[in-house]
Symmetry: C2
Subunit: 205 residues, 2 copies
């Protein structure tokens, strides 16, 4: 595709690097911005840059947060004895939207994937073990809410091995209402909510 | 949807103001940017802002251009006697991609739409008439390549009325290979290219 301006070509190039956005869609977005008030583009560019450069993560659960302790960790009304382990921030958002879960979270920041070169040390697994084992910890249950893909299952297996020797902590998995190979974030709210409520306690291996 | 951070909430809000981007897609884009290097977001934000604030239009044809005269108007190898009138910049890009047209362009900047309050004076119609009628003009044919929607037809009709009294200029329309009610930009290249080649000269009304 040829463009009448390098400025558009650059904008289309950058937009089409986003997942799911092809050249044609990128061009439509660019032309939309050109037609709209300059404020529209200024607000968009500023919001993106501000988000990327100022984003912080919760020291405890590694969820995104504007403060050192996120709103969920800071909420004393939530059940401090249960921690739901997810791979990604979007899983926290999805589970929160079901309104079926009142415990805490732990965001791994990904899943173990030898192909992509992601090992246990690249995830927040040590931080989870520290939370669970530290003196005075109230945690009595760890729910593994990881997408049932191959990498997700590997990660869940690794975690259950690490956690099984802690007699005072139960490990459970979200109920497999979610289709095998499916991504957690695409599940509808009812299925996802039920899979949390009907979570299965894992037998000690 | 609840967000763990105002920064994300703002970014998702701005992204979902773009056409065809819902909240869920916007969130996926935002989280993608958060995972990628900060450079990715910086380049995107900069390219968008630069495009919006520095964009210029060709003085002659009103196509987007980084210079006062666009590359098409400046190209002496193109046929100066034919002007293809389109509503939008993306139509120029679409027609150029067919490689079937070697003449000039004129970008109206929209179509006449009483509902949206767009009248002839809001488009570059006067500029087109000036180009066609000015002393020494080489223009002998004006091709109306406007999407055959209701507003497009109204605009084409208005233009042919304005142009019909110029004995030395023929007015033609692109062949209706394009489905009625269809948008020019969605046409495949072959259909669009053929509709230019097989354009129909309008009978003088
Ligand atoms: Zn937290
Ligand atoms: Zn031009």
């Amino acid at each position: 595709m040829e463009f009448p301006s390098k400025l558009i070509e650059n904008a289309v190039g950058e937009l089409s690097r986003l997942p799911g956005i092809g050249k044609k869609t990128a061009l439509r977005l660019a032309l939309h911005l050109l037609k709209a008030e300059t404020d529209t583009t200024a607000s968009l560019a500023e919001a993106l840059a501000k988000m990327r450069f100022e984003i912080r993560y919760c020291d405890t659960c590694h969820n995104i947060s504007d403060t050192p302790e996120c709103a969920i960790c800071a909420n004393q009304l939530r059940d401090q004895s249960t921690v739901c382990v997810v791979s990604d921030i979007r899983d926290v958002i999805a589970i929160e939207n079901t309104a079926q879960y009142q415990g805490m979270y732990h965001v791994l920041g990904g899943v173990i994937s030898p192909i992509e070169g992601i090992g246990p040390a690249d995830l927040t697994i040590d931080s989870l073990l520290e939370r669970v084992t530290k003196e005075g910890s109230e945690i009595r249950e760890v729910i593994l809410a990881i997408s049932p893909t191959m990498e997700g299952d590997t990660t869940a297996f690794y975690l259950s091995r690490k956690l099984r020797d802690l007699p005072e902590v139960h490990v459970s998995s979200i109920a497999r209402g979610i289709p095998m190979g499916g991504e957690l974030e695409y599940a509808d709210e009812i299925t996802l909510g039920r899979s949390i409520v009907e979570r299965q306690r894992q037998a000690r291996q």
